[in-house]
């Protein structure tokens, strides 16, 4: 594949090759991204959907090598990566992007929802994970959230990840439920008969595992995921 392919020059012929950089009149201040998927149909649909939601798609790539080239050249705020790519997978590409220290963040958008695969992507430094059947508005929200320095994990995927892998301990779920009732650390500590420092550690781990930047966000994610009711 070559990123030198010029879609405008070649006309609207479907191809698996990645098309070139594009700017489509999206507001200059829009959040920018690059879409990486080996399926041209997916890239095209994603681009249309994101642009309709105010995200500027700077370029598209069909594999990790192309992706790295575009990322270095265009410095998008966020790179959307398919998990299954020719050569190296999306998690590995996300890791390379992070290691280059370009300040570019990554979001995996994949048909896979298996907890082990999601966990691998997040462990490799991806800032978010979405299922390919996520509504495009959610994809756009995730891109904005990640561009803003947050993390974003598909609520359904997060729920499976945490439940099937058991990564939230019973105590952490207890703390989470109390957080959802608006209880402060001291109250939770008193209720559970543990120190405030221990509660703080539980809260910190819960937020880390759920990808929430605040107590409220962690609780919201847990509620959406069905982890608590």
């Amino acid at each position: 594949m070559s990123i030198a392919f010029d879609r405008h020059a070649a006309g609207p012929v479907p191809t698996e090759s990645a098309p070139p950089i594009r700017r489509n009149g999206v507001a200059a201040a829009a959040v920018t991204c690059v879409v990486v998927d080996d399926h041209a149909l997916l890239r095209e649909g994603m681009r249309l959907g994101l642009e309709a939601n105010g995200i500027e798609v700077l370029g598209e790539a069909g594999d990790g090598t192309e992706a790295m080239e575009l990322v270095r050249r265009l410095r998008p705020a966020v790179v959307l990566l398919d998990m299954r790519l020719p050569g190296e997978d999306g998690a590995h590409v996300a890791q390379r992007i992070t290691e280059e220290g370009l300040g570019v963040r990554t979001l995996i958008v994949s048909a896979y929802a298996e907890p082990a695969i999601v966990a691998r992507a997040l462990e490799h430094g991806s800032h978010g994970y979405l299922s390919k059947d996520a509504p495009i508005a959610m994809v756009a929200a995730a891109v904005r959230s990640i561009a803003g320095g947050k993390r974003f994990v598909d609520p359904g995927v997060a729920g499976r990840l945490l439940c099937e892998e058991g990564t939230l301990s019973e105590r952490e779920v207890e703390v989470l439920e109390m957080m959802s009732r608006g209880m402060q650390n001291m109250t939770i500590a008193h209720e559970l008969g543990i120190s405030v420092e221990t509660v703080k550690a539980h809260v910190s781990r819960v937020m880390g595992k759920l990808g929430g930047e605040s107590r409220t966000e962690a609780v919201a994610i847990a509620l959406r995921s069905g982890l608590i009711f």
């Binding site: 609207p12 479907p14 698996e16 998927d37 080996d38 399926h39 041209a40 149909l41 997916l42 095209e44 649909g45 994603m46 249309l48 959907g49 309709a52 398919d82 299954r84 994949s110 048909a111 299922s131 390919k132 059947d133 996520a134 509504p135 495009i136 508005a137 959610m138 994809v139």
Partner: protein, 122 residues
């Protein structure tokens, strides 16, 4: 074709009559030749599985599995839920074959025919 039609949904979301929905439908149709080719490759792999001495390491079968994954992503993202379910069932049967089970070629053929119909948009 049996005249079955599919109305594509807005990318990954509920069906609407929006301009975006129309554009996405156009994109789906524009890529139909490629999508049909992927389904044809899957169907060929099914026939290979039914042949004597079939091997799951056959490049055609390996390629078909990869293209099934793409079909899964595409049908899911474009909201073709029925087609997505068919793809998922084929993937499940392929996984069973990889796991050592005999190929259910008759069922796989039915599913390929079903998928051929489900991807069509008029």
């Amino acid at each position: 074709m049996d005249g079955h039609t599919v109305t594509p949904h807005v990318f990954g979301g509920a069906a609407t009559k929006s301009a975006l929905g129309d554009r996405l439908r156009e994109v789906w149709v524009m890529h139909l030749p490629s999508t049909r080719a992927k389904v044809a490759n899957v169907a060929r792999a099914v026939e290979l599985l039914g042949a004597p001495g079939a091997a799951i390491t056959d490049p055609a079968f390996v390629r078909a599995r990869g293209q099934l994954h793409q079909l899964h992503g595409a049908t899911a993202a474009f909201g073709h839920r029925e087609a997505e379910q068919v793809v998922l069932e084929i993937q499940e049967l392929f996984r069973a074959v990889v796991g050592g089970a005999p190929a259910d070629v008759a069922r796989l053929r039915e599913l390929c025919d079903e998928l051929r119909r489900r991807i069509e948009v008029h």
